[in-house]
Symmetry: C2
């Protein structure tokens, strides 16, 4: 802006540069031929006036804002505590940067999705990556109604056929976890499951159960957590109280595994000697537990990158085009907790 309080306009830049608004616009955006003199004059004027285009005016005609949202319909407690989100955002931001897009993070408090949807319908962003959604938020339907290009990380409960999703094979990974436990001779294998209203929680539980049933073993040793450390400790306590003879635990997140190990330690139960444990995620904490945790690597970084790729494609195609579906396969990381 100039020395006074008002932001300068393209008209003023044009006037100062002695060209038309059209030419000024072309000089600034640089996608068209402009004579060197005009170019220079405009750029000087821009600098002198401290001009930046008004986003609303520009968006109104280009139908682009230059920003992409990451929507996290999750309690801030978890968002700011689980490395999953840090990794996700880090990677999304990285990918967006290459395309010169601004990342805006929208934390949707469960309950007030109305304002969020209004915002999204207002087209203040060009598209959205959604992660950590829950059964009841119906985000897939809503976003599909809104017509905003979007990609879900992890399949939504409902409406999944209407949006693109980048997923990972949670069920398969969980069966792998149980297999490792079985191979080390464990027979009383419990699970600390994630929230039942989240796909990842549900599917990992599913995998655990499938594999146990296939082995003809008891699949009733379940306690639920919400992916946080404390919830893992609590679930573990519950499990131990109910089945003192358990010898293996599959925790649906490393954080919960960590909590469980804390609980085990406090009861003088040794890992892996007395109880073996397998986690899920491998986003740093698994390396630092004592003993280091055998876990499944959640390919969240790759998923984020792919999600952005698909999203940008959708945005380029104006949101038309069939929903895409990609599945990544988590891999087992062997450490010392089994």
């Amino acid at each position: 802006m100039g020395t006074n309080g008002h932001a300068s306009t393209l008209g003023e830049v044009a006037a100062l540069a002695g060209v038309s608004k059209a030419t000024a616009s072309r000089a600034i955006n640089g996608r068209h031929k402009v004579s060197p003199q005009a170019q220079a004059a405009v750029l000087d004027a821009v600098r002198e006036l401290g001009y930046t285009p008004n986003g609303a005016a520009r968006s109104l005609v280009t139908r682009r804002t230059g920003s992409v949202a990451v929507i996290l319909p999750e309690s801030d407690e978890r968002v700011f505590t689980d490395p999953f989100f840090a990794r996700l955002l880090h990677q999304v931001a990285r990918s967006l940067r290459e395309h010169d897009l601004q990342l805006v993070l929208l934390l949707a408090q469960p309950g007030d999705e109305t304002r969020l949807l209004t915002y999204l319908r207002g087209r203040y962003v060009d598209g959205a990556v959604v992660a950590s959604h829950h059964r009841d938020d119906h985000l897939a339907e809503h976003l599909s109604d809104v017509g905003l290009p979007c990609v879900f990380i992890g399949a939504p409960w409902t409406g999944g056929e209407r949006v693109s999703v980048v997923d990972s094979d949670n069920t398969g990974a969980a069966t792998q976890a149980v297999r490792v436990l079985l191979e080390s001779g464990r027979r009383r294998i419990a699970t600390i499951a994630g929230p039942g209203d989240m796909r990842a929680g549900h599917d990992r539980l599913q995998g655990w159960r499938q594999q146990l049933e296939a082995a003809g073993l008891d699949s009733s040793l379940v306690a639920f957590g919400d992916f946080t450390e404390d919830s893992g400790a609590a679930a573990c306590a519950q499990l131990l109280d109910a089945a003192g003879d358990l010898d293996g635990i599959f925790a649906a997140s490393d954080l919960m595994a960590l909590g469980a190990m804390r609980e085990l330690e406090s009861r003088g139960i040794r890992v892996p000697d007395d109880v073996a444990i397998v986690g899920y995620d491998d986003l740093g904490v698994a390396e630092r537990t004592r003993p280091p945790l055998t876990t499944l690597r959640n390919p969240i970084g790759e998923m984020a990158t792919e999600a952005v790729r698909i999203l940008l494609e959708a945005i380029d195609h104006g949101g038309r085009g069939a929903p895409r579906r990609v599945v990544f396969v988590p891999e087992l990381v062997r450490r010392d907790s089994v």
Copy 2:
């Protein structure tokens, strides 16, 4: 949007309702008198078409977007790890909700502030709350140049006179911490300081030093961390190696204090018997350490609320009006680490 891919416009709504665009607009925004029939007709049309106003078009004339940014020029690692941010965002979101404003979070990776500033200049948000800023980001000057209403939580290094700031008395709080240590008879008091390029880090170090010098004691026992737990452990190790006889520590964050306690424990040093320790923040972790941590309560919630209040005021006044300044006083919370 309708059954096809294009979002409907106010004109279409008006046509369907059999009224003018002007009336349709009034019916939708409801700040003007509109006859009941017109009102109903418009609302029906809106519903039928699934209409939502185009944000860009609206913003272009109202000069409002209905959203406010929280800018965090901080590594995602810290943002997603320090309860400070969770608390801050929780409170800001709460306050904004009352005014029906959407919170958008902007994580500024150090280095690429250019895109962020372009975004802000584009006026995609009505204002911004800035926290966790560093010496080199010069955000205060930049935002003041941009002319965007903003409030800083914690004074910026430079340009502080040009923006509103909500601060807390870090220096005073640190002197208090040292006083507690002195009162319990400690004489070799070290500090684990925060980053030197952050006001909070700098000021707390300052307070520690002042109080020690006032007491005629050695004020050379300093190690730096970055507010994270690991950095606290490392700093503590460093301190212990340099001065095995230290009997008190003031850590500039509870997370660093926690790391320090971990290190002390691993060396068999007892808290508070051998070494007393005072933290800073009291955002939950201090209650859960063993022993519970004596600390200074960082009034971040109150600061956030106040920041939003000031910001909304500034937005209402069109960004004119003198910068405001408010200082909160942290209070001592006595627990068992001293």
